[in-house]
């Protein structure tokens, strides 16, 4: 009797348990189906909706800071070097003779670009992280004044014009250029730049300023991109010229050679329209210098050689006598010395066709490259003493400044700013990220396509099973932590997988990055914070009315007339906060003629305002185009009921994410 009771109870419990399990599972699946809007729940699990909080992600946590040198300015007497330490919120002053740091001063906001006035008494500091320009008295290093400018200023130039003193500030995040008066410190105007105005140089006569725009812009996804050299009148900010540098991007440096009437831009020559069947012979990209003459003619010439590459050219300076130019190659740890007499002779001798094709001729540079100076890790900014006798090279990831005697082209020593951060795995990962030696012949680094970890605004036709059928837009790595899987087809579960065997085969064409370095690289990428797309002054502030209307549209569950929007077509379902992705594959009706599948990984939207172009192949130039040009049957969210004003509101909201 007792046994029977036990069996009965056990059976009842088992049945109840089984029932609860089946019921619970069914309920769970119902809940998942309801909330995801997906009929097929194969890959869906709780974590796709119930995500980690942003504050738990690596990029949201405190990290070590380092003494990486960024922009530099040399005093008129050549005795003092000022060095921006963006990561420290400091500016360092160094004595050139003794190669020692004499003073350091806190300058809030991430000092990045520096300039001195003609007397050397005032130092102007472009602070990238907090959108401001500070004026520092070089005698006591006290801040005299400061002013807000556009988003992420990366450089500053001082200019004495007939109308008075001017500061020219390229704002890389808002794609414009601030023109400031100095006394008083006021923003006179803000001129439209290209995409990511990045560096500025002043003409010798002070009548013009030249702004290098880092990113390329293209009309359509399969049209040739071009970055812009913006020429401004510094007195009033009027745009004098917009010089197109075809297929040039990462144009981070600009210098004038007055003796020759040239403006030089360091640049990467991209070949993103050509399927990546190989890397050899600069098939994906190569590096060069664009020479813009006063008559508007532009000739691009290679920095690379037929079998050696010098990736990620950045800072460029020209000697006062116009005989030499120096270009820092951040991916190759090299400064290239150009003999401008020989380059000028070649230009004078070459026919139009030769000049037009020069950038494709990888065997040309030996005719005008006179030296390659090895440097420490990731040289970016350069500065030259006023008499041209000393070249200063910011070895960014070594926390040092290399000082080169330009007569002998030999190093005379280094100004040591920090310890290089070798104990910090994030820093080690950044070294992997910026080094080109992991690709065949050192042709490019991770940074070549992901400057600052972000996008380059281009689409590339990756090697696959076929040729010409794998056109994919570059995706930002900023804020990517927690958004796995990766790749547009969602096949790569981890960053290590994405950047290891896959990239070795389709891109790097060498051995895989060794596992320890691959882990460091993944650590660095996970610590890349999302790109800020709103002015610093608006961070933490409430949304504007338009943005708020856009937010409501984003989270709408019904149309304006009250008609319910299917769960699967609500913005928030796939782009679910806080990551703004459910990390699932979705079809939004964008399959192209060459695509083998119409199902793509749902990208996260944090920083989406700066991620153009959009959609998996980059066909949408703007956020608006996603719905005005490429929307199909309301598959990419129900948008057919939106007015133009509502679309504008939505876009305004998206730019705040």
């Amino acid at each position: 009797m007792k046994l029977e009771r036990i069996i009965l109870v056990a059976s009842s419990l088992a049945l109840a348990g089984a029932g609860a399990t089946v019921g619970g599972f069914s309920g769970l699946r119902y809940h998942e189906r309801l909330r995801s809007g997906l009929p097929n729940l194969g890959m869906v699990s709780c974590v796709h909706c119930h995500q980690r909080g942003l504050d738990t992600l690596p990029w949201a946590k405190p990290r070590p800071h380092h003494d990486a040198p960024d922009g530099m300015a040399v005093s008129p007497d050549g005795k003092t070097l000022f060095i921006a330490l963006n990561d420290r919120d400091e500016v360092a002053e160094a004595d050139v003779a003794s190669l020692s740091v004499t003073r350091r001063v806190k300058v809030p906001g991430g000092p990045f670009g520096l300039a001195l006035d003609a007397t050397g008494r005032r130092l102007f500091v472009a602070c990238r992280n907090q959108d401001r320009v500070a004026v520092i008295d070089t005698r006591d290093l006290k801040e005299l004044a400061a002013i807000s400018v556009g988003i992420r200023p990366t450089d500053v130039a001082y200019c004495l014009t007939p109308a008075g003193e001017r500061l020219i500030v390229p704002n890389s995040g808002s794609n414009d250029i601030s023109v400031l008066s100095v006394s008083p410190l006021l923003e006179l105007t803000r001129s439209a730049g290209g995409r990511e105005p990045y560096a500025v140089a002043v003409s010798a006569d002070g009548g013009r300023v030249y702004i290098a725009n880092r990113m390329a812009i293209h009309d359509q996804v399969l049209s040739q991109p071009a970055s812009e050299l913006t020429v401004l009148d510094p007195s009033n900010g009027h745009v004098l010229n917009r010089v197109e540098l075809h297929s040039a991007h990462l144009a981070e440096g600009v210098a004038e050679v007055p003796a020759r009437g040239w403006v030089l831009n360091s640049m990467v020559r991209v070949r993103n329209l050509v399927p990546i069947t190989q890397v050899k012979d600069g098939w994906v990209m190569s590096t060069g210098v664009a020479i813009s003459k006063r008559d508007g003619e532009v000739t691009q010439v290679p920095l690379d050689e037929a079998n050696a590459y010098f990736s990620d050219p950045s800072g460029i300076v020209a000697s006062p006598d116009g005989k030499r130019a120096y270009v820092a190659s951040g991916g190759a740890d090299v400064v290239t010395v150009l003999d401008l007499d020989r380059l000028g002779a070649w230009l004078a001798h070459a026919g139009e066709a030769e000049r037009s094709d020069a950038i494709e001729n990888m065997a040309l540079s030996y005719q005008y490259v006179s030296a390659r100076i090895p440097t420490g890790c990731n040289p970016q900014h350069l500065a030259l003493s006023p008499d041209g006798s000393r070249l200063f090279v910011a070895e960014r990831l070594d926390d040092r400044v290399l000082v080169v005697d330009t007569a002998s082209l030999k190093p005379v020593g280094r100004i040591v700013l920090g310890d290089g951060g070798l104990a910090d795995p994030i820093r080690l990962g950044e070294r992997v990220f910026t080094r080109a030696r992991y690709t065949f012949q050192g042709q490019f680094s991770c940074r070549s396509c992901h400057p600052d970890g972000h996008v380059d605004g281009l689409s590339y036709d990756f090697d696959g099973a076929g040729v010409g059928d794998n056109l994919l837009a570059n995706r930002s790595l900023c804020g990517v932590a927690g958004t796995e899987p990766f790749k547009w087809n969602g096949k790569n579960p981890t960053l290590q997988y994405q950047d290891g065997p896959r990239f070795a085969r389709v891109l790097m064409r060498t051995d895989e990055i060794p596992q320890p370095q691959l882990d460091e690289l993944a650590t660095f990428i996970k610590h890349l914070p999302p790109t800020r797309t709103i002015p610093w002054s608006r961070v933490g502030q409430p949304l504007t009315p338009a943005e708020e209307r856009g937010r409501k549209l984003f989270f709408a569950t019904q149309r304006t007339d009250g008609t319910p929007i299917p769960v699967g077509r609500q913005c928030q379902t796939c782009h679910r906060p806080p990551l703004f992705t459910d990390r699932l594959l979705t079809s939004v009706g964008t399959q192209g003629a060459q695509d083998t599948s119409g199902v793509f990984d749902t990208p996260h939207l944090i920083g989406v305002g700066a991620m153009a172009p959009y959609l998996h192949d980059g066909r949408a130039k703007t956020l608006e185009e996603i719905w005005t040009v490429y929307q199909k049957d309301d598959l990419h969210g129900v948008s057919s009921y939106w007015s133009k004003q509502q679309l504008n509101d939505l876009v305004e909201y998206l730019k705040t994410i």
Partner: protein, 486 residues
């Protein structure tokens, strides 16, 4: 002596024999050939180069005849040594008996018995070491005087440690004299007609990846003497090699180089001085080179002039004194024994078993040479043919060319392929002999036909990507897509 002592001594001797002490710093490996020994009948190129009695030796400092240690003992002839990247092993071509084929052996620099590494029918020669210890060599060994005109061309093979060799080259001409560049590519010598038509046979330098993909001309295609041998990458990045007018027995060359920065435009003499002939050039530390150079004939050495070992500085105006000369031998090859940085590897995209690769030509009208008869017409079709052995050419078919000159076509893998561009009337505009091959699954691209060397492509989207590729097989035409106009 007790039996225990004998056992202990025996064990110690065995242990010592198994130990391979490193060579003293600054040691060299030499090939020494005896004086006046004629090659055997029906000789191969190696029998001529390394007559019976030739040996590979270790030469330790100070470089005297009595500091020579033979590494190839037990073999009837040996030569062409190559030192592994860790500096611990010497690979060389050797012959176990008079009748045996030449094969690749390896021996520890510290000594020991040479170990047979290859067992290739027809023999193996020209060892070099790629990343991860992969041995690259040529096989079979061509008959003497027929290096560049064999009926059975020597191909390059790659052999990872503990694995079977796999074939890397599939051309119609011999691929020999391989060396591995620091960027991981295999540089080798093969032949083809000169671009200027002055000579029917002309040896040039080509490269492949270490999986046989991306076969590409590297240098010496046009101009210069017709015969090149023994390319080596020097410490400063230049490629040194031996050049001569002919490849007959006893012919020696002189050392030349090209700069890797512009290899098609910089062919020059390596040395500022003139010597009777150069037998080998190898990189040393820094920018110096190690060279075996012939000087005036010495007593008893008239058959092969007196080859000695020299260390030559980059800017040396004169040959200077040899660092080694053994009057009993000709020292024809010398290479330093030292650990060096291993070359880069290459992650292969080859798909074993795939029957085809895919070729993209961006613009078949883009060429540095004019079309036949100066015909200015753009190409309408691309005709593809394969060399299927003994000079037999089989046409695979034609594919239409898009209006921008681009073509994408899938072609059979591991077959020598040639291309003709045809105008609308079927006249040949440009002809490329069967120098190209595709590995299984390889996606390969070129800028044009007879394109300019060392050029990157223009950043233009080829129209051929707007439709699927054409497919041609060895068994006749298959699907051919329509061409696109913009």
């Amino acid at each position: 002596m007790s039996s225990h002592t004998c056992i202990l001594l025996g064990a110690a001797a065995l242990l010592l024999a198994g130990c391979h002490p490193d060579a003293p710093e600054g040691s060299l490996v030499l090939t020494q050939t005896p004086v006046g020994i004629p090659p055997p009948p029906s000789a191969t190129v190696l029998d001529v180069r390394y007559p019976p009695g030739s040996r590979v030796v270790l030469l330790v400092p100070p470089f005297r005849a009595d500091t020579v240690r033979e590494l190839s003992h037990g073999l009837v002839a040996a030569g062409d040594p190559c030192v592994s990247w860790d500096g611990r092993w010497v690979y060389f071509a050797g012959k176990g008996t008079d009748e045996a084929a030449w094969q690749i052996y390896r021996v520890n620099v510290g000594g020991g018995q040479p170990e047979l590494v290859t067992r290739m029918p027809g023999g193996a020669m020209d060892p070099s070491i790629a990343a991860h210890g992969e041995l690259v060599f040529s096989s079979p060994v061509p008959k003497a005087g027929r290096l560049s005109t064999p009926s059975e061309p020597a191909a390059l093979y790659g052999q990872m440690p503990g694995h079977e060799p796999s074939r890397l080259t599939f051309g119609t001409e011999s691929a020999v004299d391989s060396t591995v560049l620091r960027d991981g590519r295999v540089l080798f010598v093969t032949s083809g007609a000169r671009g200027d038509g002055r000579s029917p046979r002309h040896l040039s330098l080509f490269t492949i990846n270490n999986d046989g993909t991306e076969v590409t001309a590297y240098a010496c295609v046009d101009g210069g003497e017709d015969i090149v041998r023994r390319p080596r990458e020097l410490g400063d990045g230049r490629i040194a090699f031996l050049a001569s007018r002919s490849e007959g027995p006893g012919t020696v060359g002189w050392a030349e180089f090209v700069r890797s920065s512009a290899p098609f435009a910089t062919r020059s003499s390596l040395f500022a001085f003139h010597g009777a002939g150069c037998r080998s050039v190898e990189p040393m530390s820094g920018e110096d080179v190690l060279a075996c150079i012939e000087t005036s004939a010495g007593g008893g050495r008239s058959m092969m002039r007196n080859a000695k070992v020299f260390r030559v500085g980059a800017d040396a105006a004169a040959i200077g004194a040899p660092i080694f000369d053994d009057p009993q031998w000709n020292s024809i090859e010398a290479t330093p024994v030292a650990a060096r940085a291993e070359p880069n590897g290459h992650t292969s995209a080859v798909m074993p078993g795939a029957p085809y690769g895919t070729l993209l030509c961006l613009n078949v009208n883009d060429g540095s040479e004019p079309a036949a008869d100066g015909n200015p017409a753009p190409a309408a079709e691309l005709r593809v043919f394969a060399s299927v052995g003994s000079g037999v050419r089989r046409t695979l078919g034609t594919v239409p060319v898009d209006s921008d000159g681009s073509v994408i076509v899938q072609l059979p893998a591991d077959v020598p392929l040639g291309l003709d561009t045809l105008d609308a009337q079927g006249h040949v505009l440009r002809h490329q002999p069967a120098l190209l091959w595709l590995r299984p699954g390889e996606n390969r691209a070129c800028i044009g036909c007879h394109e300019q060397r060392n050029h990157a492509p223009r950043n233009i989207r080829p129209l051929a990507t707007m439709h699927g590729p054409a497919h041609l097989t060895l068994n006749g035409p298959t699907t051919v897509p329509h061409a696109t106009t913009p």
